[in-house]
């Protein structure tokens, strides 16, 4: 039961496949506290997956850039002179220094502060001091442009990048469930990101921060004090017996409340004007609380008959959470096995009336982010769970993620989306860790595709 590997040695495939047991829902705690395993996650998961970069509205003009990460590779996401979005590794090809040391901004080109190598916005090396005098012209600039992501693409203006040329196209990678997740963000029309990304660091393993977003079990207890504060009616948002879990290929999933079919039929019968009027009326009822706007009628075509009813939390594998009914995105960025950066992006419809935008921004700020009345209570749970994965005694005891196992029937809609409609459960967490093992044990995209878990059928 204890580690038999030498320090630094990567876990074998058979060891990886023992970490989570889908048949009894138990998880080996070592997955949260192992440097060699973490290094393998960076290589086999983060470098191969489509990683969320930013939204197009954050970099509207030529030279606008935003710094983010693919695993631990820092990247510059920049709009070049052709208007295309480039994803460049933020490291000079000469001696590796970071080109951009700011988090965001506007640049004409990227000049290295070490020796002055100068790169165009598309990554081409355009200037090298001393090219004739020191290098004696014996240097080919065209071979030393910035390293780039292998693929860059977007859906609804949300840009993603991957380091692997073999990764399937973004649309296919997202599949029905990933596309529903991003679609929830634009279910009230085209959006823009509100200025300001909240960032903080929690000393926890990234996977605990990810699997928690599926977890509607902790809400009533961890977040009880947010209910007492008056910002939320926990009972009213929880819908413990109206819950849905959707399963997506490669580990995407959605977990949380679902609009019952009868209620959805009532919404379907309303015009867009009527839906908007309901949202406005509910907003004025209680200024502290903000109801989720009813989705517009076009959203049903976009999200499908199941997605349009979805009020839960999608995770786009590995680490992008679509939150708060599609008004926020949260990244859980890995920083070693024991640290995770949490980033919050706020996404609002461009056409939303200013007064409503103001209320949304205030409500969201009071709810999430490190000072949020809800989120304050999460971090310590995760850091203490991570800490308790390090003790020789405690790490021998597997986590229990078996809630609802074997009690639900998988349903399919006409678009092929797989789901269970059930009570609060841990189906999504089981799906996450089952897929995570496949990613971690595969040596290539060919292997991920060949072995990835098929969407569940029958009883789960």
């Amino acid at each position: 039961m204890d580690l038999e590997r030498k320090p630094g040695e990567a876990p074998s495939k058979s060891e990886i496949c023992s970490y989570f047991d889908p048949s009894d829902g138990t998880l080996d705690r070592r997955v949260f506290a192992d440097q060699a395993l973490y290094d393998l996650e960076l290589k086999n998961i983060y470098a191969r997956a489509w990683n969320f970069m930013c939204h197009e509205s954050q970099i509207p003009n030529t030279g606008d850039y935003f710094i983010t990460y693919i695993g631990e590779d820092q990247v510059i996401v920049v709009r070049d002179k052709q208007g295309d979005v480039q994803v460049l590794l933020n490291t000079c090809r000469h001696r590796g220094n970071a080109l951009c040391r700011a988090e965001q901004g506007n640049a004409k080109s990227f000049v290295c502060s070490y020796h002055g190598w100068n790169y165009d916005l598309n990554g081409d090396l355009i200037g090298v001091p001393g090219l004739s005098s020191y290098y004696r012209k014996d240097f080919d600039k065209s071979q030393w442009g910035l390293a780039k992501a292998a693929q860059v693409d977007h859906l609804h203006g949300f840009y993603f990048a991957t380091l692997d040329p073999e990764t399937p196209p973004l649309y296919d990678y997202l599949g029905e469930v990933g596309r529903i997740g991003l679609g929830m963000l634009v279910a009230n029309g085209p959006v823009e990101v509100v200025n300001g990304v909240q960032k903080n660091v929690i000393d926890c393993n990234w996977k605990i921060a990810v699997d928690n977003l599926f977890d509607w079990y902790h809400v009533q207890y961890s977040h009880a004090s947010a209910g007492n504060s008056g910002i939320l009616d926990i009972a009213a948002i929880l819908h413990p017996n109206n819950q849905m879990v959707m399963f997506g290929e490669y580990g995407h999933a959605i977990s949380g409340p679902v609009i019952p079919p009868e209620r959805q039929a009532e919404i379907d019968a309303m015009s867009d004007e009527e839906r908007f009027a309901v949202t406005v009326a509910k907003m004025t009822e209680d200024p502290n609380r903000l109801p989720q706007p009813l989705r517009m009628s076009f959203a049903k075509d976009m999200l499908g008959p199941t997605g349009v009813r979805c009020m839960g939390h999608p995770n786009i594998f590995p680490n992008l959470w679509v939150s708060t009914g599609g008004t926020q995105l949260s990244l859980r960025l890995p920083r070693g096995p024991f640290e995770t950066e949490i980033w919050w992006f706020t996404v609002l419809p461009k056409a939303m009336p200013e007064e409503m935008k103001k209320k949304q921004v205030a409500f969201i700020t009071h709810l999430f982010g490190p000072a949020g009345l809800l989120e304050q209570d999460d971090g310590e749970n995760w850091s203490q769970s991570t800490r308790a994965s390090r003790g020789v005694g405690s790490r021998g005891y597997r986590h229990h993620l078996a809630m609802g196992l074997g009690h639900d029937e998988v349903l399919y809609d006409e678009r092929g989306a797989a789901r269970v409609e059930t009570a609060i459960s841990e189906h999504a967490q089981r799906w996450l860790y089952t897929n995570w093992m496949n990613w971690l044990s595969a040596d290539s995209w060919a292997e991920i595709k060949a072995n990835h878990p098929a969407l569940p059928k029958g009883r789960v």
Binding site: R101, A102, E103, Q104, G105, N106, V194, N195, G196, V197, Q198, K199, N200, V201, I202, D203, Y221, S222, A224, S225, A226, N228, S229, G230, I231, P287, N288, E341, W344, T346, K358, V361, A362, I364, T365, H366, G369, P370, A371, L373, E375, Q376, D377, D378, G379, E380, N381, S383
Partner: protein, 187 residues
Amino acid sequence: MSQARAAQAETPGLDGLSLRQRMELQFEIEQFLYAEAAMIDGREYRAWLDLWTDDCSYWMPIRRTVTLSDIEREFTKPGDMSFYDDNKNSLAMRVAKMESGSAWSEDPPSRTRHIVANVRILGITGNETTVEVAFMLYRSRLNTEENMWVGRRVDRIRRVGDDLKLCGREIYLDQTLIRATNLSTLF
């Protein structure tokens, strides 16, 4: 003339006061701010809440690492995202949360110490005095977690009858990425 000297010379509302009056005001403001800090550190949250006027605002923008050429974008602006964007109502929600008996991020409670220094009166308008302070907020949690938040605050203090009340606070942190599990303390 240095910027600091210029600000001192042009302090609106202060020029008509004698040195003694200015010293008395400075003393009164400082004692008020020290007492306020002691209330938070002493976990007297309800009493602290009573120091705030009903129309108060409490705001901490997001600070970003930017180049000098983008320096006007260093802080987010009102209406943008922030860490705190509170009024009396939402400050009351924070206090209610801490009194609920289930605010796990503060139970066991954090140990905090607010150091308030460099108190400078920036101006007086009617019954309101605007004050800039440098602060250092130390937090110790459980046995191992330590946080240090340092920054600049701009407080607006209003004279209401015989009392002083807080009617506005802007908190400008000196760190960008928040190196802490949460911000469950009051600034």
